[in-house]
Amino acid sequence: MSKFDPLKVTEIHQHLHTHLPSDSALRVKALESLLVEKGLVKSETIDAWVELYSDQIGPKRGSEIVALAWSDAEFKNRLMNDAPAAIDELGFLGTATGHLQVVENTPLVHNLVVCTLCSCYPFSILGIAPVWYKTAAYRSRAVRNPRSVLNEFGVEIDDSIEVRVWDSTAELRYLVLPQKPEGSESTDLKWLASLVTRNSMIGTERYLKINSNRDI
């Protein structure tokens, strides 16, 4: 059984610091080999999880949710009130979205999501988090000066717009519902979903664009 002793774990980390190979690939290989040899895991199951999040599950799911919310007022209503149930209708409920919350951008409000204490992220609808989301630079500054963070992503926010930052300190996870770009009156869900970027669903992008070369 696990002993919940932080001092002991600190000491373990000191040993690991000294004895683990420096190369991350070798570290993970050492972990996997020992777990497999001890009979604690099957490599095939790890393979399947890698495939699942490399090919099947990613931000495309989030963009489908957004497109549907833009076109179907009743779905949007369900999404805003009980997001886990609403995404379950689409088959997208899964890792880390059991307590999903959706926050909506409006002409006067912009939402930005961060996790300052670790790097919580709604995996089953956005896939693996981008590298920048997990950096100390983003985690430290998103809550302190969100406007400068947005500037670095090329987003200018007018002073009249309220920025709301959501620090994911519990098991709730956040999805930003971006504004539908002007001129996107089409109801073709596939086309609408193609306008939605991953960053717009985290809040580091605000003004989505219509690709003018694209056939509607």
Binding site: H13, W132, A136, R139
Partner: protein, 223 residues
Amino acid sequence: MDGIHDLGGKEGFGPIEVDEDHVAFQHSWEGREWGISRCARAPHISIDWWRHCRELIQAEDYLNRPYFDSWAQTDLSTYINADMLSIEEIKTGKVDPSLAKNPPVPIKLNLEYLLKNHRENAARFDCPNVRESFFEIDQLVATNRNGHCGHTRLPQYARGRYGVIYKYHGAHVFPDLSAKGIKTYQNLYSVGFDAAELWPEAEGRRDRIYLDLWESYLTKVIL
């Protein structure tokens, strides 16, 4: 715990590198670690204990090593702490048969199965029994001035501040005790703070910061 992980508002980390390839895993070892974390975490531990073990990584490693590298180190530390793995085994690569004698039998799952049953991974942390909210929406609250030595989800930057209850989420597993192996439930609220309440330089800015906080982090403020 007042550790290096508690990054909100800390300064000196420079600009954010915003450009990167839109691939799930930049390196194949990241995918392996993701997979291990999904199907082979040390048994009988809570997510909160796992997070606490990650927070306990030495500061230089926490800040400088890649993200999924820190997950691997956390997994190793939890296995070693549970006496299922040893530093010696890592050094030699040879399995010590006296450790992890009766391991749980791992199941071989394929992609089709995982995709079909993915919704089972949507873990719930709320209490099945209905609780009553202690605070009203829009109630002014003060956060605790201090944290404590163990795991907690009240970040330093939001301690000893005034905020307003924005939403009630029912009772959720209380992480401070869950990280010690004790599962209890406590009311959880989204609490909104004016940026200027948190940061001296934010005076006049319209921004608001929302945190999800448990009831014992908060005290009702009567004006």
